[in-house]
């Protein structure tokens, strides 16, 4: 899916040594020594070693690793909050490690907005003033930046809170302010450093969902750091797995789940074998609503809006699956005053049996966005499987 996308950031051969003699540590690394030996011999910590990857324009790239894997160092090397020891980080033809102080400031202002794990909001500034921070630093006129900040706050659902101070807000709301501060800045890249890790699980799920929607709408190039597999699978277009300062695997969530690069990844996603044991039945959800073939378009539309659906399966009285209708076809039909939805049904959805292994379902999702229908031998509708559910099921199995 990435072949014809533009590269936004190209990272090559990036290494970071913490300590006063980085050269020595890199020499040892080149001789094939690993992180613990280098620490023993030189007292230098090899934070990152030979990192190569690209960030494509408009994608949401997740960098995932456990603590100590170097993920925080990596994201901070991108905007040089941490100085890389060697390597290239090219964004729009500028090699970031080579920039002088002034050019670096300019680069940070234009290209990077950052959202932090512990929010890092300025406690002496109001929500509005926090959202304006990046623009203020860049010298945007007060009236203009107030306007932009308001729009950003609205996007994250915080309109009406402009004059509150961060300590008056809940954790979830504080992180929305952090997100608004980043969005208002309108930089080309969004860096999110464990942005949702400090939130409780329910809020976290909501925030992930909202980030996905925002990302879908704005196509903002995003680099997202997390230690949480669920989160990575849920939001990532692609995932980079990091271990001991090295990249173990880069791939889409499906690729990583179905085809782990080595033992480490396998252990990370222990549920990977589960995808062969787990079947469609495990990930299946009850159908929220179905339509009858002799229902009218308006009844069906109302039913769909009640349940928040874009498409609905049509069954006969004994739940035999007949087809699927979509909301736009229904609306048209309603206008034209058609009586039955029978003639609107389409058949290009996928059906599987309850015993279908989960890993076979991945491929089906990339073709169509409809939920997959699970039917028994008599073609009776048992349930549906949506994309997130497959990954959730695998991820949960992996944790057991």
């Amino acid at each position: 899916m990435n072949e014809n996308r533009n590269v936004k950031i190209r990272v090559r051969n990036l290494s970071k040594v913490f300590g006063s003699q980085p050269k020595k540590a890199l020499e040892l690394r080149d001789q094939g020594h690993k992180r613990p030996e280098i620490l023993d011999k030189t007292g230098q910590t090899l934070g990152l070693s030979n990192i190569d990857f690209d960030v494509y324009e408009g994608e949401l790239l997740v960098i995932m690793g456990l603590s100590g894997s170097g993920k925080s160092t990596l994201i901070r090397c991108l905007n040089r909050l941490i100085e890389p020891t060697e390597g290239e980080i090219v964004i729009d033809d500028e090699d970031i490690p080579q920039l002088d102080d002034k050019a670096l400031l300019e680069c940070r202002r234009r290209h990077f907005s950052m959202v932090f794990q512990n929010f890092a909001l300025f406690p002496h500034r109001t929500v509005q003033q926090n959202a304006e921070f990046g623009l203020e630093i860049r010298g945007v006129e007060p009236a203009e930046r107030a306007d932009i900040a308001q729009k950003a706050l609205k996007q994250v659902g915080l309109d009406g809170w402009e004059d509150a101070y961060p300590n008056q807000l809940s954790g979830g709301m504080q992180q929305r302010v952090g997100l608004a501060r980043a969005l208002a800045n309108d930089s080309t890249v969004l860096l999110m450093d464990e942005a949702f890790s400090a939130l409780d699980p329910l809020i976290r799920g909501d925030m992930q969902q909202e980030l996905l929607e925002l990302q879908h709408r704005m196509q903002k190039t995003t680099v997202f750091i997390t230690h949480d597999l669920d989160e990575a699978l849920n939001i990532g277009d692609r995932i980079i797995l990091l271990k001991d300062g090295e990249i173990v695997q880069i791939g889409t969530p499906e690729e990583i789940l179905t085809n782990p690069a080595d033992e480490y990844v396998k252990r990370f996603i222990e549920g990977v074998d589960m995808s062969k044991i787990l079947t469609a039945e495990h990930a299946m959800r009850p159908v929220r609503a179905t339509a009858r073939e002799d229902d009218g378009p308006r009844t069906t539309l109302r039913k769909m809006s009640e349940h928040g659906l874009d498409s609905i399966y049509v069954t006969s009285r004994d739940r035999t699956l007949l087809g699927l209708v979509q909301v736009d076809a229904l609306e048209q039909a309603a206008h034209q005053g058609k009586e039955h939805i029978r003639e609107l049904m389409v058949q290009d959805f996928r059906t599987v049996g309850p015993e279908e292994p989960l890993h076979n379902l991945f491929a089906m999702f990339s073709e169509k966005s409809f939920p997959i229908a699970v039917v028994d031998a008599e073609k009776r509708l048992q349930g549906v499987v949506v994309k997130g559910a497959v990954l959730d099921e695998l991820a949960q199995a992996g944790e057991k």
Binding site: R108, R109, S113, M114, F116, A120, G134, R138, N185, L191
Partner: protein, 279 residues
């Protein structure tokens, strides 16, 4: 037979150094002296020009504004007592000395404190100097002040500034250093220059701590300007000094109580400023 170890002539060296400073830099000291004296006279004149009741009302109003009606009532009673005891004029003179000394101390301390917060090397150089300034018995500063600036209020200011400056420096440094690193990181990430970082993040966030330091400086300054009566500073201190010489404990306590009232007022007002005005 006792072996005689000659004592190190430390005192002589210091005196030699001070003599040299006095003669070589007499122009500088005279200049400082003139400017400081002008400041003292100007502020004294302004405060004396106001009738006591007007100044009293201003002070009460200020207390009300920055804090509560309780402080305002306390201020009114305390000021009225000082007026009644006929200590109004010396109280004004003391207040002037405290204000000028604090201003000078803060003007020097803020940049030094900021610089020490941002430079590890300066920090390590300056901390022992501050220890020295603070632990040296306060009276000792009075002695070199006389050859520098002569008997009188300017010498009192000099000694007071040296004695009262350390907390303002220390607290400024502390305030800036304790700004959470993630906020510094956030400012950096959005491309703030050092100056923007200082003005928009570090200083505003260190303000409560800086104010605590200034409060300390004011308290130390007050205690020092009273002692400075020994080298001819005017004010409540000289009332106490006179009472000592004439062995009149009643007069001494009256002046002492006036100092306490002034101290409490200055303390409460600056504390309230530190906590931010009542919401």
């Amino acid at each position: 037979m006792a072996i005689e170890i000659p004592s190190i002539p430390l005192g002589q060296w210091i005196e030699g150094g001070l003599d040299w400073l006095t003669t070589e830099y007499s122009g500088v000291t005279r200049g400082i002296s003139r400017v400081t004296q002008t400041g003292i006279d100007g502020l004294n004149d302004a405060l004396f020009w106001l009738p006591p009741w007007a100044l009293l009302l201003i002070i009460v109003g200020l207390c009300w504004w920055v804090s509560s009606h309780r402080l305002a009532i306390g201020a009114a009673l305390g000021m009225a007592l000082i007026w009644n005891l006929d200590l109004w004029d010396p109280m004004i003179e003391t207040l002037t000395l405290v204000v000028i000394a604090t201003l000078v101390a803060v003007v020097i301390a803020m940049p030094v404190g900021i610089a020490a917060a941002l430079s590890e090397r300066l920090y390590r150089t300056i901390m022992p100097v501050l220890d020295f300034m603070q632990t040296m018995p306060a009276f000792v500063y009075l002695i070199p002040a006389i050859p520098f600036f002569g008997i009188g209020s300017v010498s009192a200011i000099f000694a007071t500034v040296i004695f009262s400056m350390p907390p303002a420096i220390r607290f400024t440094t502390l305030g800036i250093r304790q700004v959470p690193v993630d906020l510094i990181e956030a400012a950096d990430a959005y491309g703030a220059t050092r100056r923007q970082k200082l003005l928009k993040v570090q200083l505003p966030l260190s303000l409560p701590t800086v104010m605590a330091g200034i409060n300390q400086t004011i308290m130390l300054a007050l205690s020092m300007v009273v002692i400075a009566a020994m080298i001819g500073a005017d004010g409540l201190g000289s009332e106490v000094w006179r009472a000592i010489q004439r062995l009149r404990p009643g007069d001494g306590f009256e002046a002492g109580i006036a100092v306490v009232i002034l101290a409490m007022l200055l303390d409460r007002v600056t504390q309230s400023l530190r906590k931010g005005r009542k919401a």
